[in-house]
């Protein structure tokens, strides 16, 4: 109970925007996870690559911002993973990850 109260009244808790901003960003993670089940032709190279750089930078931002925001940090670490995975699916579908395929595309 005490732990819940501490969370509820925290300066980065659910009564503040410092909580809901990161919650919104979990939407990217959820969307990414849903999209892993779709065919790789639907993956946007531009958007996925942009997400990878974006989440990398925002992990650092979450650490440095006042107040420090661990929820945001975890969110972007997760998004980084999902987006890198999606990028690898895209690359694989494009033939960039083929090994020892001299007569393949490219």
């Amino acid at each position: 109970m005490a732990a819940f109260k501490a969370f509820w009244n925290s300066p980065v808790g659910p009564k503040t925007t410092h909580f809901w901003g990161p919650i919104a960003n979990w939407g990217f993670v959820a969307a990414g996870l849903v999209d892993t089940q779709k065919p790789p032709e639907m993956i946007s190279r531009n958007m996925t690559a942009a997400m990878c750089v974006y989440s990398g930078l925002f992990m650092r931002f979450a650490w440095m911002v006042q107040p420090r925001n661990y929820l945001l940090l975890v969110c972007h670490a997760s998004n980084e993973s999902v987006q890198l995975y999606q990028l690898s699916r895209w690359a694989n579908a494009q033939g960039y990850l083929e090994k020892k395929e001299p007569e393949g595309q490219h």
Partner: protein
């Protein structure tokens, strides 16, 4: 005079020597990627992703005015991001629900 203004910007707590500058600056990449995707066929747009882009943009526009330091760069990028998300959602919705002409026998 101009030099000291530039100095003030350079040394700003949300200026180019800090992550508070580069993270939001890079976030423009998401909007740019989305604008580049405006020319993609609507079948390829992902509803979950664009809903995430839109909601994130809207909520973060608010967030950026209450963090320390206050971050107008972050504010503007999120406003634009929400805009691109809304446009993509409108494109896909219009395609999926308001242009049934080429689909015979489907009501």
């Amino acid at each position: 005079m101009a030099a000291s203004k530039i100095q003030a910007l350079w040394n700003h707590p949300a200026g180019p020597k800090t992550i508070h500058f580069w993270a939001p600056t890079f976030k423009w990449g998401i909007s740019i990627a989305n604008v580049a995707d405006f020319s993609k066929p609507p079948e390829k747009i992902s509803y979950p992703q664009q809903v995430a882009v839109t909601c994130t943009g809207l909520i973060w526009s608010r967030y950026s005015t209450v963090i320390t330091p206050k971050n107008w760069n972050l504010f503007s990028v999120n406003v634009v991001m929400a805009g691109t998300g809304i446009y993509q959602l409108a494109r896909k919705t219009r395609h999926d629900h308001f242009s049934e002409v080429q689909v015979p026998g489907k009501e």
